[in-house]
Symmetry: C2
Subunit: 244 residues, 2 copies
């Protein structure tokens, strides 16, 4: 039977989601943990491959198992084999037609930017640091240009697996959380590789004046990566939710 796993992780000490022999990856640890409970090798399929250093509060995976346990027992049994920086928060049984990646109809990410002079030690692994104050009004104007169904080729890296670079960016908002923390919140039907980090890097470059608004329109129109902003650091990014 097929299980849906809701997964959280602190990506700081991981080489990303995807299994790679000899490296500490989230998929690798999860597969080892589920396999230990199942007593046979298993494959955990994720909704998406987060990069090294990226975090998750709502990653989703699926796995096929033979044993029968209630959801709470599964949570406890899998976590007993996991480190504290990756945990299964919930387990539910789903139909065999459910696929963590293919069934997903949307995803939500946040990208956190610390704007104060000193970064709070308690969030240091979960933010990028901007050493200058950012112009929120300019960033919000830029976000309004980016929202919508566009070809986001300028906001990704080359990836031969991707058939189309058109995505529907349903939401891109900049939320102030206290004096020194910005949360860039992005929702789409799906994201291209490095897309949220490039959107965040572009908004930050708009906010500190390195980039002009016109450049974003040109980047979308001409699909030229060099017209968009830099890819922001992985640490600021957290996968919040996968929708089905």
């Amino acid at each position: 039977l097929r299980l849906k796993l809701t997964i959280q992780y602190d990506g700081t000490d991981f080489s990303g989601w995807q299994f790679q022999p000899g490296l500490r990856t989230i998929q690798g640890l999860l597969q080892d943990a589920v396999s230990a409970v199942e007593e046979v090798p298993t494959i955990v399929h994720g909704a998406g491959r987060t990069d090294a250093g990226v975090h998750a509060l709502g990653q989703v995976g699926h796995v096929d198992v033979l044993k029968q346990h209630d959801p709470d027992t599964w949570v406890r049994a899998i976590n007993a084999h996991l480190d504290r920086d990756v945990q299964v928060m919930a387990v539910s049984q789903v139909p065999d037609s459910f696929h963590a990646r293919r069934s997903a109809i949307g995803k939500a990410y946040r990208y956190q930017v610390w704007t104060g002079a000193a970064v709070s030690p308690l969030v240091r692994h979960y933010v990028a640091h901007s050493r200058v104050r950012l112009d929120l009004e300019r960033m919000r104007e830029a976000a309004r240009v980016l929202v919508g169904k566009h070809d986001f080729e300028a906001f990704t890296v080359t990836d031969r697996e991707t058939k189309t670079t058109v995505r529907d960016l349903r939401r891109l908002e900049i939320v102030e959380e206290g004096d020194s923390l910005l949360s860039i919140q992005a929702e789409a039907n799906g994201f291209l590789r490095a897309m949220v980090r490039t959107l965040a890097g572009t908004l930050m470059a708009i906010g500190d004046g390195r980039l002009e608004l016109g450049s974003i329109e040109a980047a979308l129109r001409e699909r030229r990566r060099d017209l968009a902003g830099p890819t922001a650091p992985a640490a600021g990014l957290t996968l919040l939710r996968v929708d089905y």
Copy 2:
């Protein structure tokens, strides 16, 4: 001239506040950092000595310096010599009569308890874990008994430096933050050693039924440590604020 420092730290990898030769302490790192900027040895006096593993979002210290810089320059210069898990968030000049510990008129702490089956990896260093659901109504009744001016000898550890064990606990509240996180918030004119952790451990023991309400009244009245609950783990505790 005298500087007031507002300090944050993630206590996870520290042997507490107080300088001890050969150990990684917050006071030790701060003194090294200020001394490096001053180019002469300095002593940083803290508002209180937090234990190993305890965090701070608003610890306060004072230090006497000879150099003249504006506050932002001080912040940047000191932090340039600090690790990312301890940072000076603000610096201001204060009169020579200001003393971080003796001038304090109150302190605020929070103690965080995770009550879900799996602890969220992103807060794992900042919470204690209760494996059973806690009865909030019972905990709030207990908190009402504890609030006020009492002899808290039953809620501390022996400390010869302490003249009186009477403290005015002005606030003790249990705030739900989402589904699985409780924040026990405590404010007093001052706290005894391990007092917040013993208050938290007592409230948790009340919440999960290990301790009866009557035991708290008896602990206060008879000043017997064995009638209060256990000392809760350091990781859940964060010094939020020192008032002057």
